[in-house]
Amino acid sequence: MATVEAVAASQASASTRIAEDVSQWTLMRWRFARNRLSLFGLVVLVLLYVVAAIAPFLAPYPYNAIDTEYIHTPPTPVRFLNGQLSICPLTQFMRDFQWEYTEDCDRAVPIEFMVKGHPYTIFGVPFETHLFGVTQLPPPRTTPVKKTEAKANDPLAAFMGSSGESTTADATQPPRVFLLGSDIQGRDMLSRILEGSRISLTIGLVGVALSVVLGAILGTASGYLGGLFDDLVQRFIEIIQSMPTLPLWAAIAAALPPTMPVPQRYFLITIILSFVSWTGLARQVRGKVMGYSSLDYIAAARLAGCSHLRIILTHMLPNASSHIIVVSTLAVPSAILGETALSFLGLGMLPPAVSWGVLLRDAQQIQSVLLHPWLLIPALPIIITVTCYQFLGDGLRDAADPYSG
């Protein structure tokens, strides 16, 4: 009997110990960790942000390097030749007023890693190394160039150039490795997507951070103080929420002169994005605060002589903080999509700045997309980012809610 009782007793005290000794945050972390999907989302997001931070390292070419000889090239296939990852240089020719490319695999050029390329800085530190690139020239031609059937005295042939072929064959530059193809100005899509991640991934965060500050403060004050202040704030929120979001953003964004420098524009766009989303957060925080402020411990704090500000800072905000985190995490994807939509319309970030929305602007014409489907690729990172934020937000919400399974 003694052993069983001792076991039972120790079991009982062990479980009470676990429940007592950990803080709310640790509990939240445990519950979150059990949710595989949100862990997955978190990992992928961290990866994306790391990629954005070291984007120029990963990009083989500068994002704004124009190359008229490589307009709208399809993604360069990577082949395994001679025991190495290589690419076959492209020969460009024109057929039916469209540039077309064929591969010349007899003269394959290897892809090298950790190559020296165009200089860049990361957080102010200059570097020159890139993850991969092609620096070698293709070996000279051993077989004659295949000529298209060019009839002599064919006026069209003359019009389109000697044999309609460019002379990349004997070029003085290494062939381009456009893993995701190139756009209408011959710029590498991969490099542009990598560069664009820097703006697309951060603009949402900054915008939401701003709206969180504004929303949390106004919402808490509104819920706690009540009365006329609360009424006014609520009316104001209702009016703003009665205006459709995108048209509202568009109207404000149109006010920004197109010639504004990029950093300024970035900053103002974040403000615009936060201009509407703070209302949602303010409303939710207000609801929570109104729930708390009627609780007895707040009355006790007042009786003990705490000032309003102190109560707000030490009691209300920490209690609402987990809720605020969840709502903010779920607000970031809308901000990212908002910036993408605005840039797509030509009202958000503008060239020469690059964001995923700006890149998608090139995909606006259906005819263009039909011919060059790789222009749609920037959509993929957007979808992945938004989905991962959703996983993350859902996981956080489930972890923060003490009553869910």
Partner: protein, 327 residues
Amino acid sequence: MITFLIRRLLFMVVTVVFISMISFVLIELPPGSALDAKLQQFRSRGLNVTSDVVKSLEERYGINDPIYTKYWKWISRAVYGDFGQSFYLDQPVSSLIGSRIWFSIGMSTAALLFAWLVAIPVGVYSATHRNSLPDYLITVMQFLGVAIPEFLLAIVLMFIASWYFGVEVGVLYSKAYRDAPWGVGKLLDLLSHLWLPVVVIGTHSTAWLTRVMRANLLDVMGAQYVQTARSKGLGERVVVWKHAVRNALHPLVMALGATLPALISGEVIVSIVLNLPTTGPLYVQALINKDMYLAITFLLFLSILLVVGNLLADLALAWLDPRVRLE
């Protein structure tokens, strides 16, 4: 009920007035005047635009008036239906907006209906067949539906429709019916072109609504009255649809108001991508050209659409839930 409606309508009017003021200020923000684009047009046509001409034009259209004067002039005529002139297009705003706003309303409503008609059954199925393979598939599609930006979906669907099905996209009527008078044939033709934009606009809302429906139904199924219903001997189907779903709809209808802005914004952007003759393309053009009155009126009407939609949503909620008392 009547008092509620009257109070609500009064409040709506006040809201709309405030919105008009805010919109006015916003559109007036950009430096430069509404006349700039027009003057540009003149100059590009080779007309000699002297400073006198500019001044008299400015006087005529009150360009340099202080903002409250402009606002007053505009609003006092707006209540009679005269929303000013589009400088860029040389047409009264009301004629430009007229048909387009009805299209916007129609497409937004159609998208809303589509979203509901799909989301409810799918959400119910997903909740009652939890953790099954179809449930997982539906969940994945929900996430994607929310994550994919609408304009992107529009492009992708256009791409697929055009490449694989050879459907002519970007137009509302096929050649045969374009100039034909109204009739059944034309209507059907219109519908056959509209389904794509409506589906695209509604996808985002459908995905979101399905998730909400699933979550709500799971909550409701744990409620006591569901047990009571079962204990009466009712079949599971009746229990789910008559008792559970009816209650699960409440938060959905409450959320109806929240989905409307997304629908309207979605309609705007999809119409831009698909180049449909509704509000979107013209609105953005007006913003870029600082075509002031056109832009303001668009924004105003879109807001009115939203406000009216919210009222209808509240009425729907009151009709559905006997616990809600309209105050």
